[in-house]
Every structure is written in C-alpha cells, then in structure tokens.
C-alpha cells in the first residue's frame, strides 16, 4: 500500500532495522544533553534560586515535581498518538513506541505523586488528599498500569498492542481533567502558575522559572533517549527471527530491508 503523501524519510524510519540504527546513533547525544541540562537546572534550582517568601526552602522539590508532572501528561499524549497510528494504520514501529511509552510514563507519574506527597506534608499538613488534581493524577497512574497489564495479557504482541492502544485512547479524556482540575474545582492543590503561551505572564519569579524550564528540557530529552533505548530493545526481541537481527548478533553484513531471507 503506497503512502505517497508521507515524506520519504518517515517511510524509511518506519522500517525496524533503519530505526534501530538511527535510534542507536541519536540516543547517546540525547542522554548526554539531558544529563547536562539536569545538572544545570538542579544547580539553578537548588543553589541559585532564592528561598520562597512563604515556604522557605521546602518549595525546591518543585524542580522535580513539576517537570515530572508535565512529563506524565506529555508521555500519555505521545502514547495516545502512537497508539492511534498503530490502530488505524497498523504500523509495527508505532505499536512498539506506544507500548514502550507506558512504563516511562508510569514512572514519571509515580515520581510526581511521591514528590507531591513529600511536598504536601510540610505545606498542607497531610501526605494525601482526595482532591481533583491528585485523584485524576492517580487515575492516570492506573491508566498506565492498565495499558501495561492489558498489553502483557495477550500472546500475540501486535493484537495486544492494538488493544492497549485503544485503552490508552479511551483514557485520554483524563488528560484535560488533570490539567484543568485546578481551574474547574476548588482544590487544595495550587492553581496554574506557569503560562506556556506567554512565560513572562507567569506568576512565578524568573529566578525560579528558568531552572524549571531547564529541568523540563532535561526530562523531555531523558524521555526521548529512554524511549529510543527501550524501543530498540523491544524491536530486537519482537523481530528476533529476522535476518537483520541475526546479522546484528552474528556480525554478518545485513541487508537494508527488513525482509526475511
């Protein structure tokens, strides 16, 4: 089936051996920049930024909590988009990417919940409360776990990936709920402070804003690097009978297509 409306390079990238090599080349760079950005951002946040006039130094957990929260939502959206491609066009690489997003997203969601809980104790006096934002973020964690669980319940990986992608799409209604929960309901959680469309109008001090944005960059790059690594491993095991995998392992010259010999 010709896909002449797609750029040629997307078509090229969709072939597993090509993606494997491309991802392998790109991953170390992404990881390196991610680590450097993380060091810079944490230094800016933990050392350079002044203490908050209300919370003192306890607020500094924001530099882990907020980027993790942003990632928990971004990764879910990525998973849903990849899942949609997998469902509609049955592209194998999209299935792999969607399924490998889930564990990373679950990890970031867990970090969000734990760091939020650690922050909540000094700030609100409680480890947990069932307000709108916390509850919807917890539901997000369970959605990730549900996707992982459903995928692993199938013996046929491709069907399992499509079923889990459908589940991810059904759960996407949770994303706006998490984001707008602080606007729609009276919650214990503080309201929106960072305005993405016009950062100058954010209600957070610039000296605190820039480390936050650097940490956001670091977590995004870490996610991409981690996703590329996981997708490569998954492709190796799913395509293990293929000629290109055997050539990789055995050191023989590989063909450029993914076709079996």
């Amino acid at each position: 089936m010709s896909r002449s409306y797609l750029p040629h390079w997307i078509h090229w990238l969709g072939s597993p051996p090509n993606f494997y090599r491309f991802a392998g080349a790109l991953r170390p760079w992404l990881m390196a920049i991610a680590l450097i950005s993380a060091v810079v951002g944490l230094y800016g946040g933990l050392v350079l930024a002044p203490p908050d006039y209300q919370q003192g130094d306890a607020y500094r957990i924001i530099f882990i909590h907020v980027p993790s929260a942003w990632m928990s939502l971004f990764i879910y959206a990525t998973m849903a988009v990849a899942g949609l491609v997998a469902l509609v066009w049955r592209v194998k690489l999209a299935e792999v990417i969607a399924m490998e997003c889930a564990p990373i997203g679950a990890a970031f969601t867990l970090v969000t919940l734990v760091t939020g809980s650690l922050w909540g104790k000094p700030m609100w006096g409680t480890w947990w409360t069932w307000d709108a934002r916390l509850t919807s973020e917890l539901v997000l964690l369970f959605l990730y776990l549900g996707v992982i669980g459903l995928y692993n319940a199938f013996e046929d990986h491709r069907r399992g990936a499509r079923a889990a992608s459908l589940l991810a799409l059904v759960g996407i209604v949770n994303l706006p709920i998490v984001h707008y929960s602080v606007q729609w309901w009276n919650t214990l959680h503080q309201g929106t402070t960072v305005n993405f469309l016009d950062p100058a109008r954010s209600s957070i001090a610039p000296s605190m804003l820039w480390p936050l944005l650097v940490m956001a960059l670091a977590t995004h790059l870490y996610f991409f690097a981690s996703l590329l690594g996981r997708a490569r491993t998954s492709l190796l095991s799913l395509e293990s009978g293929k000629q290109w995998v055997r050539a990789l392992v055995g050191g023989q010259p590989a063909s450029t297509t993914g076709a079996p010999t």
Partner: protein
C-alpha cells in the same frame, strides 16, 4: 445474452426476495436472546444480590451496631458494594459469544456493531444491575441509611451504574481477546470508576447533610450521555480486535 440477463435477474431475485431486518427488530431480537439466556441462568443472577446482602450485613458486625456511625457511612458503602457486585458479570459480557463464534455473526450482520454492543449493555444492565438497585431499600435498612437519602441514592445509582456498565463493556471487550486476563478487568475498571463513585457519593453525602445535591448528579448525567454515544463505538472497535485471532 439470455444467460447474462438471467444471471442478472437471478442475482436480483436473491436480493429483493428477502425480508430485510429492521434495526429496531434486530435490537429486539438481541434483547430477547439475552433475556432468555439470563432467565435460563437465573440461579446465577441471585449471586450478586446475595453477595451484596452479605457484605452489607457484615458492616454492622465489623464496626459495631452504633446507629449514627452506620448512618454516616451507609451511602458510600452501598455505592462501593454495588460497584464490586457488578464486576463478575462485566467480566463475562462478551466472552461466551467470542468463544462460540456469535461475535463473528454480529460482525457480518447488516446492523452497526456499535448498536449491537449498546443493546448488549442495556440487556446486561437490566438483568444484572437493576435487581441490585431494587434491593437498595433492604440494604439501606441493614445499614441504617436515613430514609430521606434513599431516593437520592437510587437516582445516583441509576446514573452511575449505566455509566460503569458502558465503561466496563469497552474494557470487557478489550480483555475478552486476551487469553489470560484473570483479574485484569477489575484492575482496569476500578480506577476509572473512582471519579464516578466520587460524584455519586458526593451527591448522597450532600443530601444527607441537607445541602444541594443536584450538581454531582448533573455531572453524572453529562458523563452518561457522553458514554452512551462514545462507549459503543469504542466497544465495537475492541470487539473487532478480539475477533481477529
């Protein structure tokens, strides 16, 4: 030439000389089939009721028979009991039809698969959940539920349980295609049921303390309307994946 005409006419006669199935008639046929099957297994339908009664009766034993304590928690406890009692039936909503090939016949029927899925959910709700709601006054009495709260509880259940059944139908269709799913459906459904339970319990709690309770019920109604439109479509997509093996 004559044979061509004959084959055209012959083909036409196969098509026109039939009684086409109307959509309404098809849904009635599916409802009738599900009701007959439920009636044949009517002994099994008592199990969720029995379960609900036993669990409701356990609470006074576990917490002590203090009337005020029971009255405070009765609304929430009854909601949770209903949600848990719905789970076993949701698991098997599509499994039997997948295994005996009935779903394959659904796939090729002239009716939209989403419509058949919606009809199945309606039949499921009427046969497995409605009895639970009917028994609510009895369960409320066991837990010392204030009588003025009972109507609100029933309305909340009438909104929340179809919503959960629709959500559960999508998840049940997804899990039906998996060979070993075990407790998967419960693990997938319960977190999604949390917001529904929060709103339903919120309405009951508001009614119990004399505050306005209409807002959570409105939210539930809105979610229910959205689910009636969207869930059958997702369910049909999931059923197509399940039949593929």
């Amino acid at each position: 030439m004559a044979s061509t005409a004959q084959s055209i006419l012959g083909g036409a006669s196969v098509v026109t000389a039939t009684e086409r199935a109307g959509t309404f008639a098809a849904c009635r046929a599916l409802l009738r089939r599900d009701f007959v099957l439920a009636w044949r297994r009517r002994g099994e339908l008592f199990l969720p009721l029995l379960y609900a009664v036993i669990v409701a009766a356990l609470f006074p034993f576990a917490l002590g028979p203090e009337p005020e304590l029971l009255a405070r928690i009765a609304g929430g406890v009854l909601l949770v009991i209903v949600v848990l009692a719905m789970l076993p039936a949701l698991e098997s909503m599509f499994r039997a039809d997948l295994e005996d090939g009935t779903l394959e016949q659904w796939l090729l029927a002239p009716q939209p698969l989403a419509l058949l899925a919606l009809t199945r959910v309606i039949a499921h709700w009427l046969t497995t959940v409605l009895p639970l709601i009917v028994v609510m006054p009895l369960l409320g009495a066991l837990l010392n539920l204030p009588v003025k709260v009972l109507p609100v509880l029933i309305v909340a259940l009438l909104l929340a349980t179809p919503l959960l059944a629709l959500l559960g139908s999508v998840l049940s269709a997804l899990a039906a295609g998996a060979r070993r799913s075990g407790i998967l459906l419960a693990l997938m459904l319960l977190p999604l049921a949390v917001p529904v339970v929060i709103f339903a319990a919120g309405a009951v709690a508001a009614a119990q303390s004399g505050m306005p309770f209409i807002a959570p019920l409105m939210w539930l109604s809105a979610a229910l309307v959205l689910a009636i439109v969207l869930a059958p479509l997702a369910c049909a997509a999931a059923l197509r994946i399940a039949v593929e093996s």
